[in-house]
Symmetry: C2
Subunit: 406 residues, 2 copies
């Protein structure tokens, strides 16, 4: 079931009823950088049902560990976030600093500290300048239109803030599902971190919030890759405050699937944007694998193509080099029989049943020069399909990640 | 047990007794490219015990499938190889062409066709110009010093031929173990293929040949990565003709471990060379992981660091960005406890027990500017260790793989 819920003009994470946000600077991105937003607050007027999905990296930043602890009770009311310093690999002091950030935010907002979540992105292995940060947190006053600033504050090498809000009818009520994200850009000298914060005024019980978030993330953020490096700080958080007034949704209830679809739409929108805005990217690559034996295999195959350096470099150069796509699927772990496989670039069939079709190189090169390029592989073995998003690999990616100090 | 067997000056695949080789051109690398070697023969005076290790890609080129069939009997006497066309994704005609290459070589050498192995590297999805190729194969006369030409003929974007031979005493006899390889360079428009051909005049039984090759490959070629793309054509072949006159080696016999060590040395030498000569590479990166719980985990962690685009880009830029190394180990699947982990760059400890050490950025940058850079991660959890080899990621890699036609 595909939905296309209407997106609100200028929609952002404070579009749902009862959410407010603010952002300011603490000189984390730029020493003494007045006006360069790098700290933010997001809060709800009332306590929220809360859920999170976190990095699978065994090295986890202090804020990730703190959020995982605090989400055991499935409630939260606010989030404090900074960019410019990941607070990762920082030992016991790092955890103390994460707790201290939450405390400062709780004081500003007049909330119990344990209801405040914490996120960080930026340089690994450096301590947070916690006093400067606490001072900055004390300066903020969240407002209903503060979401845009928050979306800017979490950016690192992102070239644009990423925000969306969609409306969804849940019985008599109209709810809003919204989100902001920062992409797989890196801040010098740092590694990619993906952060996404989702809000909704829909009333949702904790079990559904968790399950719906997990499913939406699996179909969106987990299908995005810029460079295949999983950060120590990745997190996706969902806050649902229930102020839309709908009958609380739970698994199996009439509108649960509608809510799930809206959440998926928001996540996919943000995920695609992250891919398109990958470091050095000049275009979005959408890879769909159809006819796989299992969903896991379809996802693995789509992701492997989307992350192959060779495929990404070929797409960058508008090179119809389908052999690289075949080889990527072949090493993905998905069952495949090359003699049954079809392969398409931008809708044009290049391989049918494992046999190369005649095609015009200049035509395919023209098709590949678009801002979004679609790759489709039909395995013709089963009924499962999946889509992954990535970007091309450019010399600019190398420049950003190698020459940052020179 | 580390050995350092003496390398023969100008040693190559025809250094062991009874091996000869030849190379010529068939216009595969360069249309009408007289003098550009792209076809070669390797043969032994007598039948050899033979073993092979092949790509794990589910899409396998015709020569890979043919070699796998022919090695069931564990004997072979010759090899015919071409560069410039991978004969992959070419359907039934591709297999017929591989068989035809072997036939032509068998005719040239006066051998039964089923004793000839076949390897190809180059463009995927294009048919071999089989008549031109057969004509070229008919032109060759293998000689004792033809190994150097063969090493050149299999090159694609490699910048140098890769060859080595070492001497090893086996009881009263002196045997030679030798090899040539081509690296993870790509030929336009193609994907990486790794080929290595190993010869020895040691007498080895089939079971030991297989087991020794598997083990040597696991410690060498399987620990090399330029871009993590497993080719449809990768293969490593071992031919042992027994002409050194030693008592045939079998598993558990006195000199089996010595033979194993010599084979390992040859493979590691070639593997390191492949990494150093990766496309666009300006330096070799050697990653050692110590103190892992299992060997598989040690290998996975070392390989993940060596293939991380972010680590590779940092090494390219002489950037002491150890956070990226920590994050790569953390996502490798290896058990780790960051608070126990030590991390070294070029012997300098940057992290001890999960805590960053003070270090001079300019000093580390100087250390990283060497032609070979060593990364060491001590997990301090167990007794297993492994080493992987990779190269830095440069803008030149992107140029080679994106802009080949423009």
């Amino acid at each position: 079931m595909e939905h296309d819920f209407p997106a609100l003009p200028e929609g952002t994470v404070t579009s749902p009823i009862g959410f407010s946000a603010s952002a300011t600077y603490a000189g984390l991105k730029k020493p003494g950088g007045e006006g360069v937003l790098d700290v933010g607050l997001l809060c709800s007027d009332v306590p929220c049902v809360a859920a999170g999905v976190f990095t699978t990296n065994r090295v986890r930043a202090a804020p990730v560990l703190l959020c995982q602890q605090r989400l055991a009770k499935a409630t939260a009311q606010a989030l404090v976030v900074n960019a410019g310093c990941a607070n990762a690999c920082t030992g016991p002091q790092g955890m103390a600093n994460a707790v201290s950030m939450a405390e400062a935010a709780a004081k500003t907002l007049g909330l119990p500290p344990e209801n405040v979540l914490v996120a960080s992105t930026g340089v690994i292995g450096q301590p947070l300048p916690i006093e400067r940060l606490r001072e900055a947190i004390g300066r903020m006053t969240p407002t209903r239109d503060g979401g845009h600033d928050l979306a800017r504050a979490i950016m690192t090498t992102d070239t644009s803030p990423k925000e969306i809000a969609v409306e969804v009818a849940i019985g008599e009520a109209t709810a809003t599902v919204a989100g902001i994200a920062k992409g797989s850009g890196m801040i010098c000298p740092n590694m990619a971190t993906m952060l996404a914060f989702l809000t909704t005024d829909a009333a949702v019980d904790a079990a559904l919030a968790r399950a719906a978030l997990r499913e939406a993330v699996d179909e969106s953020f987990n299908m995005v890759a810029v460079d295949n490096d999983t950060s120590t700080n990745d997190m996706v958080l969902l806050l649902a405050n229930g102020l839309a007034g709908n009958e609380p949704l739970q698994a199996g209830s009439e509108y649960a699937a509608v809510f799930q679809a809206a959440l998926r739409q928001v996540c996919v929108h943000l995920a695609r944007w992250i891919a398109r805005d990958g470091e050095g990217a000049t275009k979005l690559m959408e890879v769909t694998v159809e006819g796989a034996l299992t969903l896991d295999q379809a996802r693995a195959a789509a992701r492997t193509v989307a992350t192959s350096s060779l495929v990404k470099a070929a797409i960058h150069g508008n090179d119809p080099n389908w052999g690289r796509i075949a080889a990527a699927v072949g090493r993905s772990g998905a069952e495949m029989d090359w003699s049954k496989t079809d392969l398409y670039l931008e809708g044009l069939c290049l391989v049918r049943g494992g046999c190369p079709e005649q095609f015009s190189q200049p035509q395919v090169r023209r098709l590949l020069s678009a801002a979004e390029v679609r790759v489709k592989v039909c395995l013709n073995l089963g009924a499962e399909s999946a889509t992954a998003w990535g970007c091309d690999l450019s010399a600019e990616y190398v420049r950003i990640n190698a020459d940052y100090l020179t």
